[in-house]
């Protein structure tokens, strides 16, 4: 059709060259006509080209999907220590709302001492779990009864759907994040409301809306500048999907053309669905929130299906300008626009009068800023990425929409973060340190299973900077000492808790010619016969250094490595006093092994990984390795409990109840640059580090800076008291722990010995490897061995002890 007319004018033209002075006007017309025809062809070609582009993008993989990271799902069951208030708080954080009818998922009903919950369906790594209605009964801060309220199968426990705590998206690029949804998952009110507000003729137009353009043009003319775009939803999609943000007429034309082409190929439903997944709805640091699926979690912490009219209206309102109408930053502005949108909903009949009034009066319900955002858990997400490295390609993590189920306990994380931040404030104030100069890190694990429950990389919550918990390598000071003593206690023929240690001044000539002279914190020596347990309890440096030299530094390094330290420190004597750089995470691993009866379990932040569709890819499997004999581990733990009762850790009991048994150790590096406390209870290991990023002397000590924070963390995280029960190869004797430095051991203690007296109420059960109880030691004796016996008895005189054979 285009070619035929082109020939004719040309033919005419040739004829007319004979008589050129004819009608130049006709010639111009001919040229214009020709031009128009060429334009048509070009336009057609261009349209075909654009068509290909549109189809390729629309039908191909449209988006790369960052991996989604979930917190640990909370198991609910009878016997769980969890108060009703705490659970309600947790439910609210996950977007559950009170609703006495309990008809929708994600609702709860609270009355008296019961709590009914309509638990959401969720697809876990071990399968799909349908929505269920349950009733919980509470008493004294625990769930006492659990039962299903619906007609589903019997239940004894249920997982509460886990909190989405973040995504793993590429560090370069726009940081687009989204959760894909299908149109049938979207509440009808959302697309209908969007159409009513943004593009009334969406269902009937063919990509562009003449009346819309006219209306916009009129408005622009009136204002003298571009105030209205007049874009249809299709055009907006095209703009977001295919074009950059340039505002020229040519681009506008291209947009219109593409919109028409899109409408030619695809149904309104497909265009709407793509729009809803594509649309930009907000910013979370460097992460761009796209699509209503993610926006629903980002703003309301709940799935789309549970959104209320006021929530839906807010999303529709935000689309117009996600940063201008940011409901967390500009709540009043966002509220006004939401209410305007609600008015339109009402006028269009999308919402009844009652619901309209209620919605307009309701809160924005978007939680505090930063709630439900990645920004809240940067250190933990970093650990997850670190632990996934090597198992998954970076591209798989950032593009395939994998679902990563982690071990993080969000409530616990919040508590630990709060305690660290406020604790550092307090330390700065108490010690006259310039505000903000101190930094810190804290790690909490579950003991058994080695699950990382909380991981705090700095004092500022949600600040994605240097991850101190994982990446700061700092001198650990006396935090290392338990492992020195462990290496000694592993030779029960030579060492027991009462073995007298020499704390007199020490000077060691090193291979490089230097002289190493360890000093005690007090700068004093404590004599030549400090009971072993006492030297650790009081953290005496010289006694420890002498002990370490006796045991052998390589043995100590071997002990550290057996317990889970992955590096190879230089075998120099100062290792015994903590001249080793470790991250808080590495220290936690070592202490977790002791806390778990001497069984090494690699610490993990990941429970399982599935595909976007829920197909399991990998599951973390519990693995154990016994690396310390149970008896020896028990004895070491006993000394670490003495640290808390009579040594450097007594400050913990300013915070903790007196009947709570905990074990731990302080650590301080030279000049008070680093202050550590590492310790554990029956079900929690916690490690706290504080110091300054520039490694300046801060005059901190583990006992004054880190311990108070540690104690407050332990107090608030449902930590259970240790329940020490000696293993079979351990014998315990009630002894009176009377040693104190300076006391004349022989005279004083000797005079007070009443060996067979039954009156030793103040005696404490002291553990020994049963085959190596010191000779002549009996009930109610004192802890001062030196005057009576210098070495432990060896029951197996004829053959080497089993320990020697074991750890030769």
């Amino acid at each position: 059709m285009a070619k035929k007319p082109r020939k004719r004018p040309q033919a005419r033209k040739r004829k007319k060259t004979v008589k050129p002075r004819g009608n130049w006007f006709r010639r111009l017309f001919a040229y214009l006509f020709l031009l128009a025809c060429v334009g048509c062809v070009a336009l057609a070609g261009y349209a075909i080209y654009l068509d290909g582009e549109i189809r390729a993008r629309f039908e191909g993989a449209r988006w790369t999907l960052p991996a989604k990271v979930y917190a640990k799902p909370q198991d609910l069951y009878a016997g769980l220590e969890l108060s009703r208030e705490a659970l309600i708080q947790r439910l609210q954080r996950q977007g559950y709302r009170p609703d006495d009818s309990l008809t929708s998922t994600g609702t709860y009903r609270s009355s008296g001492n019961t709590l009914d919950i309509h638990v959401r369906a969720f697809s876990y790594w071990d399968g799909e779990r349908p929505a269920r209605k349950i009733r919980l009964t509470f008493a004294a801060g625990s769930i006492t009864e659990f039962k299903a309220m619906d007609n589903g199968e019997d239940l004894s426990l249920i997982r509460l759907d886990p909190l989405l705590i973040g995504s793993i998206y590429p560090t370069t690029g726009a940081g687009e994040d989204r959760i894909l949804v299908q149109l049938d998952e979207v509440p009808d009110m959302l697309p209908a409301g969007l159409i009513a507000v943004e593009d009334k003729s969406f269902m009937s137009h063919w990509g562009i809306s003449i009346s819309g353009i006219a209306r916009a043009a009129l408005a622009d003319l009136k204002a003298g500048r571009i105030v209205q775009g007049g874009s249809t939803i299709t055009q907006q999609l095209v703009k977001n999907f295919y074009l950059d943000n340039e505002r020229t007429l040519a681009r506008k034309a291209k947009e219109a053309l593409m919109a028409i082409l899109l409408e030619l190929h695809y149904s309104k439903a497909a265009i709407m669905e793509t729009y809803l997944n594509e649309v930009y709805l907000g910013q979370d640091g460097s992460r761009a929130i796209h699509g209503i699926g993610l926006a629903s979690y980002f703003y309301f912490r709940k799935p789309l299906s549970e959104l209320q009219p006021s929530n839906i209206a807010l999303l529709v309102a935000i689309i117009k300008g996600p940063s201008y109408y940011n409901p967390r930053r500009y709540p009043e502005r966002a509220r006004q626009r939401r209410n305007l949108v609600l008015d339109i909903f009402y006028e269009e009949g999308l919402i009844g009068e009652q619901a309209w009034r209620e919605a307009k009066a309701s809160d924005l319900d978007v939680g505090s800023r930063g709630q439900a955002t990645t920004a809240r858990y940067p250190a933990f997400i970093d650990l997850v990425k670190h632990q996934l490295r090597g198992q998954y390609d970076q591209a798989d993590l950032t593009e395939e929409g994998l679902r990563i189920f982690t071990t993080l306990d969000p409530s616990l994380q919040a508590i630990v973060q709060r305690q660290l931040s406020s604790g550092l404030d307090a330390v700065e104030e108490a010690r006259g340190i310039e505000a903000g100069k101190l930094e810190g890190a804290a790690v909490v694990t579950s003991v058994e299973g080695g699950h990382v429950l909380a991981f705090v990389g700095g004092r500022k919550a949600g600040y994605a900077g240097f991850n101190r918990a994982l990446d700061a390598r700092r001198l650990i000071g006396s935090t290392i000492k338990p492992f020195v003593y462990l290496a000694a206690l592993e030779q029960p023929r030579k060492y027991n808790v009462l073995t007298p240690l020499d704390d007199s001044p020490l000077s060691v000539q090193l291979r490089n010619g230097d002289v190493w002279q360890p000093r005690n914190f007090s700068r004093r020596s404590h004599g030549t016969a400090v009971p072993l347990y006492y030297a650790l309890a009081k953290s005496y440096n010289i006694a420890t250094a002498r002990l370490a030299l006796d045991v052998g530094i390589p043995n100590i390094i071997d002990t550290l490595q057996r317990l889970g330290y992955p590096e190879q420190p230089l075998a120099v004597p100062s290792v015994s006093l903590g001249a080793v750089n470790m991250s808080p995470f590495q220290v936690t691993q070592l202490y977790n092994t002791i806390a778990a009866d001497g069984y090494y379990t690699p610490l993990t932040s990941i429970n399982a990984v599935t595909t976007a569709e829920g197909e399991p890819l990998s599951r973390h499997q519990l693995s154990l390795k016994q690396v310390v004999d149970s008896g020896t581990n028990f004895i070491l733990t006993w000394i670490m409990r003495r640290i808390m009762h009579q040594g450097t850790g007594t400050g913990a009991y300013n915070v903790l109840p007196a009947d709570m048994e905990v074990a731990g150790k302080t650590g301080t590096s030279d000049g008070g640059r680093d202050a550590w406390f590492a310790g554990f209870t029956d079900n929690r290991v916690a490690v706290v580090w504080t110091g300054n990023d520039q490694n300046e002397p801060m005059n901190l000590t583990g006992a004054t800076a880190a311990l108070p924070i540690w104690a407050r963390i332990i107090k608030n995280i449902d930590a259970r008291s240790l329940m020490p029960q000696p293993p079979e190869n351990v014998a315990t004797l009630p002894l009176r722990l009377i040693y104190a430095p300076g006391r004349v051991a022989y005279g004083d203690a000797g005079a007070q010995q009443m060996r067979y007296s039954r009156e030793c109420d103040d005696a404490i059960l002291v553990p020994f490897i049963a085959s190596h109880v010191p000779n002549g030691l009996g009930r109610c004796d004192s802890d001062i061995l030196s005057w009576r016996s210098s070495g432990p008895r060896d029951d197996n005189n004829d053959e080497p002890g089993w320990f020697e054979r074991l750890f030769r």
């Binding site: 069951y77 058994e448 499997q621 079979e728 089993w802 074991l806």
Partner: protein, 193 residues
């Protein structure tokens, strides 16, 4: 499955894995009658012949006359919450079907609820045998031992598991020693019968 054919050969045939003929009895659920003492007197406990590495001398105290009045728990039902029991039941079901991974996942979930329940470690040890991980089986049985303290029922079963784990890893002498241990605990258990 290879293992399920092997395991019934266990002397006291406790396990999960037996699943061949009838409903297998799981550790602690239904204990077999205590083995009869051998003709000759067993060696006094605690003064055994030299032990191989990785074993501790167990200074076991034979139950005194007072003890049998309150026997230690021999079945998980006696110490586990209903939530944990329901997970154990489901895990047992999967174990009987040879779905070891799913059984393991349920037991590990139960361990998150009761991390100090020795029966759970014991069951998981048995499942690790099914998963052909004898070293993990032995470590988990060992952990169960440390949590079981002096409970001879649990310990006896654990040593049988350890014996089987050692057999699977070709450690014949270790297996024999573990069998002897199991026997000792059977004798102790008998005091409660």
């Amino acid at each position: 499955m290879h293992l399920r054919m092997l395991l019934p050969t266990l002397a006291v045939g406790m396990l999960v894995l037996s699943g061949c003929s009838q409903m297998p009895s799981l550790p602690g659920q239904q204990l077999p009658p205590p083995a009869k003492p051998k003709a000759e007197e067993p060696e006094p406990i605690g003064k055994t012949s030299p032990l191989p590495p990785a074993e501790q001398p167990e200074i076991t105290r034979p139950p005194t006359s007072a003890k049998p009045s309150e026997p230690p728990p021999r079945s998980p039902k006696e110490v586990s919450s209903s939530a944990v029991m329901s997970l154990i039941d489901s895990a047992d079901k999967f174990a009987r079907e040879g779905e070891w991974d799913r059984a393991a996942a349920l037991l590990e979930r139960a361990l998150n609820i009761e991390p100090r329940n020795p029966f759970l470690y014991q069951r998981l040890a048995a499942v690790r045998l099914g998963q052909k991980q004898p070293q993990q089986a032995e470590a988990l049985a060992g952990k169960s031992n440390s949590l079981a303290r002096r409970n001879p029922f649990i310990r006896g079963d654990n040593w049988e598991l350890i014996a089987e784990a050692r057999r699977l890893s070709g450690n014949a002498s270790g297996q024999k020693k573990a069998m002897d241990k199991a026997e000792q605990y059977r004798l102790q258990s008998a005091a409660y019968q």
